[in-house]
Subunit: 260 residues, 2 copies
């Protein structure tokens, strides 16, 4: 099987043009087939503010009403996605920007209303990895915005970390997959106040211990839950690293590598 590197780049890097430029140069330099999933950053929230649309967050998640979905579609699916694609083209990476709706690659369904109505939020139902593989075979580099679609023809806002792991897992049908989460920290930290306390290798047991001790908390928990789930579902390697250390992380010289 071919090697495929699936990279997720987080919102804070998207918000910083110099950091994004450095990251894209490193991404362009990765050998072999690769695929990028980007978050949206604060641009959507800022854009919504300028347009007088209120952002409602419940338990750290954005509630996506129709006006907010339009903003997310514009900013993530349009502005951020196309700027990344054009920059990758200049770096001689033949990027193709898409949402899950494009070529029917990531189908979702609107999250059922239980305690909270998240609005136009999608839970992933199916990844068409055959279609994505077809782009890779053509030497194209898919760049995904975190938006999916429903059979009813609605666009749906979807968590970028979840989308990255769902795509990585399904791509295991065709490839040996490495999944890399790039963000603004150097990896998973054993001491949240010490940027250099990176855990080099993290097992499920260590994760459970650190969670119990409270040293791994907040946003890291859903990220790591996603990551370990991907590892359990066929992904060969998961790395969590700083966006500036992507090249090193691929050589296992930086970041946190998750191990079963």
């Amino acid at each position: 099987m071919d090697n495929l590197t699936v990279v997720k780049i987080g919102g804070n890097v998207i918000d910083d043009p110099a950091a994004l430029k450095r990251f894209l140069a490193a991404f362009a330099g990765l050998p072999g087939a690769k695929l990028l999933i980007h978050g949206g950053g604060k641009v959507a929230t800022q854009m919504a503010e300028k347009l007088g649309i209120q952002t409602t967050m419940v338990e750290g998640r954005r509630i996506t009403d129709q006006p907010m979905l339009d903003v997310v579609t514009m900013v993530y699916g349009g502005l951020v996605n196309k700027q990344i694609v054009a920059k990758l083209q200049a770096l001689e990476v033949n990027a193709i920007g898409m949402t899950g709706a494009d070529a029917g690659t990531v189908l979702a369904r609107k999250r059922p209303v239980k305690d909270i109505d998240y609005g136009m939020v999608g839970d992933i139902e199916e990844v068409d990895s055959g279609q994505i593989q077809f782009f890779l075979r053509q030497a194209l580099t898919p760049v995904f915005a975190p938006i999916t679609y429903s059979l009813a023809g609605d666009l749906l806002n979807t968590n970028a970390d979840t989308m990255a792991s769902a795509i990585a897992v399904d791509m295991c049908r065709h490839n040996t997959v490495t999944l890399i989460y790039c963000f603004e920290k150097k990896g998973v930290l054993s001491d949240p106040s010490d940027e250099n306390s990176v855990i080099n290798v993290l097992t499920p047991e260590q994760y459970a211990e650190n969670k119990a001790a409270g040293t791994i908390n907040k946003g890291m928990i859903p990220k790591l839950d996603n990551a370990f789930k991907a590892l359990d579902s066929g992904v060969s390697k998961v790395i969590i690293c700083h966006a500036d250390e992507l090249a090193m992380a691929v050589q296992q010289g930086a970041g946190t590598t998750l191990k079963k």
Copy 2:
């Protein structure tokens, strides 16, 4: 050679959800390989207004400074493009939305400054019809937003009519191409005040006469110049018709057909 229908849908239809829905159903029903290029409509201008960005027009053309390019990228490349893709997916058309930057399909260069500095506007240099053909062979239906890119990695605003004819002409390498411009009128009119004075067949000679007489004027002139140029450059048939009459126009039962 296979038949390919290249359809351009104009801005006024994009602005009218009911008209867009009818148009997309007709487009979905077209037999054989097809490709859509959409304009942007007034949404970009309205969005710019809301964001306090001024729209400057010179000789009927939008001047595209960087803030306006960002709006165009968001609205055309994001909102409009992805909404069309999701709706086509629901109509069982496997649409893939793109700009010219995606998969390097339409390369342009920033228009040189002569009397007017149009800003971030692209003149098309090269269409990668081989790449587009590859999507068609995979039973995908490309949906283009009128945005291109430069080798320097900039996105560029590009006239949708021009983009439609440039793509149609280059696709003649692989297909027998019909190019259809859909808009809010029933075709080319011999009397601009009479909606039903549609010229069924228009030759270059009749076009010259009507232009001299002033019955064909304003926005129709660049549209028809583009259209006749496409016909001269290998496109088999060019039709100009109402968005509601696409299905009939394909059978030559509506609209204006251009003839050499």
